[in-house]
Amino acid sequence: MALIKKKKQRSAEIPSSSMADIAFLLLIFFLVATVIDVDTGIGITLPEFVEDVETVEVSKDRMAAVLINENGDVLLDGAIISIPQISKTLKPRIESKIELPANRKLIVSVKTDRKTNYNRYIMALDQVKLAYFEVRDEYALRRFGKKFINIPDEAQVEVRDKIPITISLAEPEKVK
C-alpha cells in the first residue's frame, strides 16, 4: 500500500484580522496624547521703549480714556461704567470717525493701577476690541456685503485703514 504524503496547505498570508485592533490602539494613543493648544488671545502692540517721553497733546474728542482702578471699577472718561457697556458706548464714537483722516481717529487709552486684577483688565480690553470688531464688521457688511473676515485681503486692508485699532497702554500709576 502506497502511502501518499498529505501535503499540508500552508497559508502564505499575513493574518490581517488584528490589523484593526492595532490601528485602534495607535488611534487611542494619539487621541489621548493630543493637546489642542489654545493659541487664541487678544493681540496688541506695545509702544517702543524710549527714555524720556515726549508728550503730545491730543484733543479731547479723539481720546477715550478707560481707567480700571484697583477695586475693579471701570471709568470711561471719568464716569463710572459697567464693563459690558463699554463696547456699546465706544461704538458710536468709533463710527463717527470712520471718514476722518488717520490723524483724527479715535484713540482708546487703557490705564490700570498696579493693584488692578488682570482678569478685569482683560475684560475691559476685550470690550474695547469687541467695539472695534463690531464696527469693522458692520462697515464691511455695508460696503462689501460680507463680514470682515470673509472679504478679500485688499478689502480688509482698506477697512483696516478706515478703522484702525489704536489702543494706547498707559503706564500705571505707582501705588505707594
Binding site: 484593526a20 494619539f30 493630543t34 489654545v38 502692540t45 521703549f49
Partner: protein, 137 residues
C-alpha cells in the same frame, strides 16, 4: 402544505474589510494634527476669558511666557527672574525678528507685575504681544 419562510438572500453583515483603512485614516489625521507638548509648564495658571479673540496665524513665530498664580515667571523651560527677561527676549528677537510673545497670565495676577514684564519686553523690542485667553461662549 408547508409554507416556506421567505428569507432575503442578501447578507446581513456589515462589511468589515475596510475597517482598518478607516481607522488608519483617522489615525493619520490625529498623527498629523497632534502637537506634542514641547515644554513642561512649571507654573499654575488659569487663563481669563474673552470674546473678541484672534487666532495667531503663524505658530512658528510664537514665543510663550507664563506668569503663574504664585507670581513666578517662566520662559521656555525655566523659571526666570524679572531682570533677565530683557536679555532672553532680546536674544529671541535676534533669532526671530518678528516674534510674537504670547502671555499666559493667570487671571488672578496684579497688573503691576504684568506691566513690569511688558516694560522689559519693550526694552527688548519685543513689541508684538498677545494676551492668551480662552474663548468665551
Amino acid at each position: 402544505m408547508q409554507f416556506e419562510k421567505r428569507r432575503a438572500n442578501t447578507k446581513q453583515e456589515i462589511p468589515t474589510a475596510s475597517m482598518p483603512d478607516i481607522i488608519f485614516m483617522l489615525l493619520l489625521f490625529f498623527m498629523v494634527t497632534t502637537t506634542m507638548r514641547e515644554v513642561e509648564v512649571l507654573v499654575k495658571y488659569k487663563l481669563p476669558e474673552a470674546k473678541a479673540v484672534e487666532k495667531i496665524e503663524n505658530k512658528r513665530l510664537v514665543s510663550y511666557l507664563w506668569l503663574g498664580q504664585d507670581g513666578r515667571i517662566q520662559i521656555n523651560d525655566a523659571i526666570v527672574d524679572l531682570g533677565t527677561i530683557q536679555e532672553i527676549m532680546y536674544n529671541k528677537r535676534q533669532a526671530m525678528p518678528n516674534v510674537i510673545v504670547s502671555m499666559r497670565v493667570d487671571k488672578g495676577s496684579d497688573m503691576g507685575q504684568v506691566t513690569d514684564i511688558q516694560q522689559e519686553l519693550r526694552k527688548a523690542f519685543c513689541l508684538r504681544i498677545n494676551y492668551s485667553t480662552m474663548v468665551k461662549i
